[in-house]
Amino acid sequence: MASDSDSDGDFVTFGTPLEPLEEDEPLRKPVPLHEQTVKDEKGRYQRFHGAFTGGFSAGYFNTVGTKEGWTPATFVSSRQQKAGRQNARPEDFMDEEDLGDHGIAPRQITTTADFASGRKDVIRDKARAITSLSAPIPGDTVLEDLVAPARSSMGVELLRKMGWKDGQGVGPRVKRRLCKQRADSGTRAFVSASPPNGLSGSQDEEDGEFVPENVTFAPKDVTPIDFTPKVDLHGLGYRGLNPLAALRGGPGAGHINLFTMDSDRSNSLFGEDRKGQRRRGGVAGQGFGVGAMEDDDEDIYHRDIMSNYDTVLGGEEPGDGLYGWTAPQQYNRKKKDHSKDAAYLGKILEGFTLASDKLETKTIFPPPNLPRDFRPVHYFRPVVDLSSVSPMVAQALQTSRGHMAQEEPSKGGRHQLDSAQRRELLGEATLQGPSSVFDLLKVEDRERLSGLRRPSSDTSSGPRQPTPGRPEQLCSGCRDSPAAARASAQKALSSRFTPHAEQQQQEALSVWSGPTAQAQTGQTFKPFERTPHKQARYDLYIDQLKQGDRDALELSLDPTMTEWERGRERDEFVRAALLYKPSSSSLSCRFTRGKQDDGVEADTVEVTRDQENDVDDKQAAVKMKMFGKLTRDTFEWHPDNLLCKRFNVPDPYPGSGFVGMPKVKRDKFSVFNFLTVSESPTASASPAPQGVKPSEPGKRSRWDVSGQAGNKERKEKDPVSEFLSVARIEASGSGPEASTTDGPTTDPTVEPDTEQKDEEEEEEESRPSMDLFKAIFASSSDEKSSSSSEGESEEEEEEKEEGVRSKAGTGPQISNQLNVNTTQPAPPVSTTPSQNPDVVFKMPSGPAAAPPPRDQEMEEEEFGPRLPPPSSTLTERRPSPTPSAKDDKHKKKCKEKHKAKKHGKHKKDKKQKKKNKRHKHKGKQKKSSRKEESSDSSSEGSDGNSQEDGEEGGGVSTEELLRRLKGIRGKNLQ
């Protein structure tokens, strides 16, 4: 059956198919009766019980047990849920057979009695009839029928609330005449309807004379049409024999059965037929002869009179109000009259009026007729023969000038903002120098390019004004001839963009098809949430990427879009996929995702509350030693219920569903405010000449630093960030120097060489990545490998510093200091959310008045406080303060370093101290570092002594201390 699935895919099959018969198969023996078993849908044996035991399988395999054993499934330990009380419903005691379609409580949506129509429930009627028959007194339901509960359906209830009374019709009240007219016509029913109620009819006629003019009457009641389908084979209107009636009539002949069961009442087309009531038993039904026991004065043979029927179609208005069903033409005509129409709408709700004019219908224009010779193939204009490249070029040009996002701001997320817009948002100063490649081109070339672009993309924003930038620096070769220039420009651009895009696609593929990406099923990031179609396409793309589909991008794009749009979308998708690539699980659990990544309107992000308060105030308070209210924050914190239990403490928030700190909303853009924590103390602490704090763009948030984290190549690729950083430095004047260098080393005569600064930037960028990886991946077990890599990084660093020194020709001392200092804030900043750097920077102003070299030593530390060096028992005895010959040699070697970059040395020493257990096989470099280590401790000691501990080494330490304490106290009191 399943083999030809194509053909019968639409059919539904029931039951198990018979096995195909084979010709020469021997006849199988029929299964004997005692081996025939019945199983239910789960393969369990279903036993047939005797009539006395219920007739169906009961319980759990006919026992009183359950699958779980004797513990009921509903049992819940009160230890977990104290108040959870469960009310047992009847369904809890039922088997699934009972809940099935044929059980006693089928699980399907049915109309409850409240909302049921007037029609009787056939099944219930039958059941009642049966019980009445089997009851000791036949016709036991008599009482039930008599004493029926006063229950009416919800519709009737509503009608009553609206003022309807039984026996009235529904609708607005009508004037007498209309009512009478209807009553008249009502006598001539056009179908064999039930005879009009004699009482009301006569009333109508009687009231005709003396009814006042302005009295309105309710419309006449309408007998509802019964839409019971005809299922028997009898003729129309014929009611066959009723076996029940016959049975009942048998014994009680002559007895007038007033309360016939009339179970087939519902089968009658129009209400009840009263004939049964008049019958005195015997077999009821039409077309049956007169029984011996019956009077023959009744019209046993149902005679239909033709006057019951309408003879004229649409001749006059039907009086019975069956509008809509057999509505004659006249009535249809009337409907068009709007004022009259209102009469039939019923009560109009307060505050509403009928519309005076019709609702406008939408005019749908047919699609234009295609010309006969139309070919559904698009050919591109010959000007842009590189059809696949031109959209990219156009887009690149656009984005470089920042016009794309302006054209469609609605679509734009954060990622479609270009540098210029971001700059506007952040309030930064305009960049000096060329902002795009376009500016570097010659004016003629630019015009040519824009002219080239214009035909290819008509949505671009017209010709651009040639900005007087720095002309004719680049592209000196492109002015040979216009054609050659164009070709070369195109080639350059295409070569720049297409392989890049290819490479990006590959990258995205490799990233998304990895195992971590597979694990991340709940992908929350929706970059194109604004446009659902686009998002759907993006999702498709990601899905296919996850499956490792190489053509994911092409498959997911909409084929109906134009080439230009597709090109753009292709680029966007790849970028988005790369930007939001799945991170490894260990990394992702350390970061929380912003709730609204791209929402431009959603200006708030969720932030735990403890980041709320401003750190500046607190630092000021700490400096003034005003601990207390200023430095304290109190938050609501929800402990786990189990934790409270273990601590023998009542749960402070018994009903709270979450654990930890509640989240609060925060302004999105202020994210940068509280991330620049590291900067503000520096600004306040450093005695830099700048009187005013640098403006906002001048601040360097740590995201800036970490965002630029990367190697040199990447940085070179990214000239915008470079420009940005340069601009930032320039904007903040002497800001970076003042903030990064420390008090004593601050030299106002630092020459503002941009190249040099770039160099520091690079250093800054190159550093954190190492530490980041260390922080995340370095486990205790692979200490050796990490130490070796450390050594390498050290070497690199050394080289870099060397290079810097050689580059900075004029002021080597200053540049080195700069270098050393600026490299340091980066690592802790990017690795952990540490505040170390600023703490460190702040220290000079603190009470202990620590000298700067020590600070830098400390800030080099990855995670704040270190462990002291392992004991001398492992390596050697504590080195003597006097340097040995080896040390001397070593010192000679690195004398220059000591002289020029003392701080850098400290930094390194620190590292090497940690790895004193490592083996010697690393060669000369390692050996020297080992020597350094020994010299390190001595130098450290000498450092400390020279700076501060010198006094403490002697016996005068307490005096000194007390004096200092006094000073502090005095300050404190002020």
Partner: protein
């Protein structure tokens, strides 16, 4: 030497009169408080650098955490090794004993926390989950929960009762590594490298954050439970009022700039003690804030110290040795002399 200190102290008492007025503490007892200034015993632990040394609940035993991955249990009075607990994958950084001395917990650079059975020396439970090395570990009062603070910035609450190996709760409010942690009856005090001391009050369901502005190396509760003591890398030990966060005292003079060193209060809350990088243990009068004793332990960094829960007895750890200090020299004075001579 210590006598000289005391004399200095007396002469400078008037200078700190104002400071006294600020503090709301009862006057110390008239008798001169005893200070652990006599070296009673030196134990060479032979387990690498001793990263931490801790008294047990009653002060009869001590635990030493070694950098050679071992945890050792010693008798304080005799200085004998009782048991070695090995099972960590890297150096042991902190340990704690349960109130009934039946269990130990320790944490290590291998990112694990281990619950030990004291008698058998077997690992009862090895708790993994921290993303970095675990700096500090503590039992709660009934040893039903182990709390561990790690360099990954989280404090994890491990259930010792259930069989679940997941923490009950992870406190990730710290923005940097958690360096120290103490537990009281219903409170949890954590010090973090982000320069904040956090006090989680389970009963009130509140978190109090005190900003210190310098990486915290150690936090302590006072014995009366009214104050907290924090030492930070700006070479300052601060005594803060627990309920308001106000500073009650500030103790300086020692050197704590780069290493994670311990501080503590004496058993009767009369003195504040702190390790120092210059090889001394500094001991200040709690109320007056004056330096009472500068205990020369050695030349290297005093890494850890622990004060006896009831008596005047102090443990210090430097490099591979643990030293026991007491108020009065014990009867076996020769040993001490020998040890001191050795040291000299």
């Amino acid at each position: 030497m210590s006598l000289g200190h005391l004399q200095h102290q007396a002469t400078h008492a008037e200078d700190h009169a104002e400071q006294k007025c600020e503090m709301s503490f009862p006057q110390p007892k008239p008798e001169v408080p005893q200070l652990p200034q006599n070296l009673l015993r030196t134990i060479d632990c032979q387990q690498g650098a001793v990263r931490a040394v801790r008294f047990n609940a009653d002060g009869n035993y001590l635990l030493s955490c070694g950098s050679d991955k071992s945890l050792k249990l010693w008798s304080v009075s005799r200085g004998t090794l009782l048991k070695t607990y090995s099972g960590h994958g890297y150096e042991v950084l902190d340990a704690d004993g349960s109130y009934d001395n039946s269990q130990l917990c320790s944490c290590s650079s291998d990112k694990t926390v281990i619950l030990w059975d004291v008698a058998t020396g077997q690992v009862t439970r090895k708790l993994r989950g921290h993303a970095g090395k675990v700096n500090c570990v503590q039992f709660n009062e009934e040893a039903t929960v182990i709390l561990s603070g790690s360099i990954d910035g989280t404090v994890r609450c491990w259930d010792t009762r259930s069989r679940k190996f997941d923490p009950i709760q992870i406190l990730d409010e710290a923005q940097d590594g958690v360096s120290s942690l103490k537990v009281s009856e219903h409170e949890l005090l954590t010090g973090s490298v982000d320069g904040r001391v956090r006090r989680y009050d389970l009963r009130m369901g509140q978190l109090h954050v005190d900003f210190i502005n310098s990486p915290i190396t150690c936090v302590c509760f006072s014995a009366d439970g009214q104050c907290t003591l924090t030492s930070s890398l700006d070479s300052t030990v601060r005594l803060l009022d627990k309920s308001t966060g106000e500073m009650l005292g500030e103790y300086t003079g020692h050197k704590m700039k780069g290493y994670k060193l311990d501080c503590c209060l004496s058993s009767k809350d009369t003195h504040v003690l702190s390790c120092s990088e210059d090889g001394h243990v500094y001991c200040w009068d709690l109320v007056e804030g004056s330096l009472m004793l500068k205990l020369p332990v050695g030349k290297a960094v005093v890494q850890s110290l622990s004060f006896h829960p009831s008596e005047t007895r102090l443990l210090t750890a430097m490099e591979g040795r643990v030293q026991v200090w007491g108020a009065e020299p014990e009867e076996t004075e020769e040993d001490v002399v020998v040890v001191q001579q050795e040291k000299a």
